[in-house]
Symmetry: D3
Subunit: 145 residues, 6 copies
């Protein structure tokens, strides 16, 4: 089943590229709905809240429909597994400096019955508790909506 629109790749680009670098991909972004944001904490609960708030404020998901929040929630969790690389439970002990996220909603498949899907991507730096020491991290989650 051919994937026409790569919502995951677009989400990763939206989270990791500069505005100038992104401009070269404008044609692709015209086919989806997308929002971006920043999360300045490694508290998993605050990151989830930041992504949810951004997605609702930008109309990517509906405010009062649980099934859309549920879809987003699991896509966020999947993306965070990439960010914490198997240590999601120890996430609270790490420190981030400028974790950026993006949410992309679109129709990746030709077949209309497949409907809409969500991609959530994270990119930024993550560090040990001591300041000044960090390296890059990235994560991507995908779910049907």
């Amino acid at each position: 089943m051919p994937q026409q629109i790569k919502i995951g790749k677009l989400a990763v680009l939206a989270a990791s590229l500069t505005e100038e670098e992104l401009s070269g991909f404008a044609d692709h972004f015209n086919q989806v709905r997308c929002c971006q944001g920043k999360a300045g904490s490694m508290d998993v609960q605050k990151i989830i809240a930041a992504v949810e708030t951004a997605a609702k404020r930008n109309g990517i998901i509906k405010e009062n429909v649980y099934r859309e929040t549920h879809a987003l929630y699991h896509a966020i969790l999947e993306g965070l597994h990439g960010v914490t690389r198997g240590q999601i439970g120890v996430g609270t002990m790490m420190r981030t400096v400028g974790l950026r996220f993006s949410v992309v909603r679109g129709r990746p498949y030709d077949h209309p019955g497949e409907g809409e899907w969500l991609a959530v991507a994270f990119y930024g730096t993550i560090g040990a508790p001591v300041k000044g020491l960090e390296h890059e991290t990235c994560g991507l989650g995908i779910n049907h909506i």
Copy 2:
């Protein structure tokens, strides 16, 4: 500590962009050593072997030095956590169609004492055991070498 060269971002781009899309980032890739490859299986052991072989054949890591293989091995495992999103143990039951990977070696930090680091990125599609059904996945691992 400012990161001058974002080896993680470059690895993600090398794994996910087309050759044409990558050409816009040539200046950045001149500052690092990079190789790419494909893994056609979701057997974790085979993916590790494929990345190791590519990294050694392209001179990214030294063939006979365990500490370099050890560094690469843990960067691969970290990247696979993003690919399998917390289900690395169930990886064998999934099916991939065109998982691409990249290995980038460079000096992300200004301070010369920080030396060289490795980034391993994966991008592709992953699916349930039944053929024809898959969605995108992405992972990034970083380690000092």
Copy 3:
């Protein structure tokens, strides 16, 4: 948001009660679609295939729509976490004797916009590799569809 129909509870009952015991809950089951089955192996891939096959054969999910399979797949994985209790990766070394499963599809919420959801439940016995030694196990996964 009140849950009118408890699809998770019904799935657990359908997986764990005898036919006679279930007859007392017939009114509840009239409000949902439900199928049952058995999985005689602890190979995670075979359990997933058994549940998928049963759900499609009984018309609980549509055969050719990836988003429905994707929803079922993640509900199965969630249910298996309960069965293996945090050891899903070591599942292959365990042995089951009569693991029964059920899939329930229904509308748990009053609000029509919440649409349909899936519940997958497992109940049975699980044991160490040596035959004749096992105890009970149970798991439940829920997802929007």
Copy 4:
């Protein structure tokens, strides 16, 4: 080795059925010792304390014998793996509304040497941090005592 008394099934029923529904299973409950309770928090530490307190207050386990507390503790943890479905580490970011639990102590096996075993079951609703949005969850843990 035939299991005569299904302490796990009884624990699941005690946690999920209404008092009226349970009355049909009275004969089975006469063969075991059982207590029930509620946990209004998703703080893992508080849930453990609530179950331990209930089990000791109702004489299911002895107050001052570590091996009985140790057996209960691991049965609780196993049950919580089902509740959190592989995300036990992120448990603190979730919210429960009316998680009920039960502890059943009995002799599941014919052979007298097998002695007593414990079953701990959870059933209730679990949700994202935002209020008003939740779905069902269930977990079961078993241990020898």
Copy 5:
């Protein structure tokens, strides 16, 4: 509650020290029952079988009592978590060279009601799939019996 006999420490010593080094601890080992063995594979199922067989053959646990096997089984699994350091699911892709194990059964606590407990320790080398490259690993599991 003072621990008089440190069965865990003795198990670790029995798994990691040479016979000569162990001789200095003979007084301590007189207070417990202990057996040792080797596991030449990283197949989790085979390691479990090797430890079980050794423990039964040496009379550390009773052959036909499930609760003793159940206690040993969970102690083995806990010890393997240390060996694989959070990657138990990927255990099959690693390679060991001379993993030694020990099982110690004793009464660690003064209070007679606490009865007997089991300690299972592992020590050896673990490596990436490529031969010749490995480092040390160690694990300890404890359970009541």
Copy 6:
């Protein structure tokens, strides 16, 4: 590749033996750099800080070089997996009484290109939240530096 100096075994001994017991291994410890310490909390973040501080104060790793802290950090995490036996995310709910740790830095391999490696070991007692109830625990992590 023969391992001449077993830094992991030495780290485990330094964490678990009494000073008197350790004196018999003095020859081995002359070949490495080693420090010891205690961590009185089960808060993962505080344990990491305690080990880092001890390692830097004793000159085992350099204070201002991220790659050395990064190497130590992952060795600590690996060791903690053994301590928490697969439940690292629930670490905060447990209680320790006298967890001792050691950090050993040395050259385990004959080949000079393999350079220096780090071993971090933990040994002590771990318990349920209720005071007075605990059993032994042990963990070992190894990394190149």
